[in-house]
Symmetry: C2
DNA sequence: TATTGTTATACTCTATAACTATA
DNA sequence: TATAGTTATAGAGTATAACAATA
């Protein structure tokens, strides 16, 4: 299933981790670099190369934060928004395939069970 | 959940992949090295270091196969059986924790849904 | 003192190509 | 020709320590 996701994004030259960054930054523009990393469970040391690559490709950009010269705020470029939209479309196709396999209500039942696994205690 | 498994085996100095090898070889002694690798979805090139480590620790051993001098048959040593038994006990504890989180019948429902995800088509 | 971004480094898992010795 | 085991190598992903700039 994860390989299916990887193949699906490969045509956009996007790794799953890169897609998750685009999705978070697209949904909440202006978040600090380390906040995005934390939201995705990525350590900030490892996040640097990730955001570097997206910035080099012109999909995301760092911008200065007023009142805190240590931080960068992250935004998508117009091209980044376009790539994110195309990736979302592909993700929807993968999800539809999953739903077809799981049957009606299957996804909700699966997510409910998986949430319990993550519950603390 | 996977981190829980890793922590649980760490006290036996066993990685999840090593445990899976012990489990397969313990359950079906005499399988060829490449059959065990294939059964676990591990490429034979990467399996070499894995089985080397288990053999060096005295948990598993390679033995000659009659009529095919290319192959090795894999078996557990007495110590390997003991470590496997202790690992199985720890795995049972982890499983009990999972069952407690999932509730009655939860595991069966979860496995049923996951099996559908793996179904071809 | 603590935090942000960064670099360097190391370890695990995985993937591929190529070799050898057998079949 | 094909297969079993092996070696070498490279790429991701991830983890920790340490540093400079800033708070």
């Amino acid at each position: 299933m994860f390989d299916d996701v990887i193949r699906s994004f490969a045509e956009l030259d996007l790794r799953p981790g890169q897609y998750s960054v685009l999705a978070v930054v697209g949904h909440r523009p202006g978040l600090k670099q380390s906040s995005v990393a934390a939201a995705l469970g990525i350590q900030r040391a490892n996040f640097v190369a990730l955001i570097n690559a997206l910035e080099r490709r012109g999909l995301a950009r760092r911008s200065a934060v007023p009142n805190d010269r240590r931080s960068y705020a992250l935004h998508l470029t117009a091209e980044g928004e376009r790539v994110l939209a195309r990736a979302n479309a592909r993700a929807a196709v993968v999800e539809a395939r999953l739903d077809a396999k799981l049957g009606p209500g299957g996804r909700a039942r699966l997510l409910s069970l998986l949430r319990r696994l993550g519950a603390h205690g």
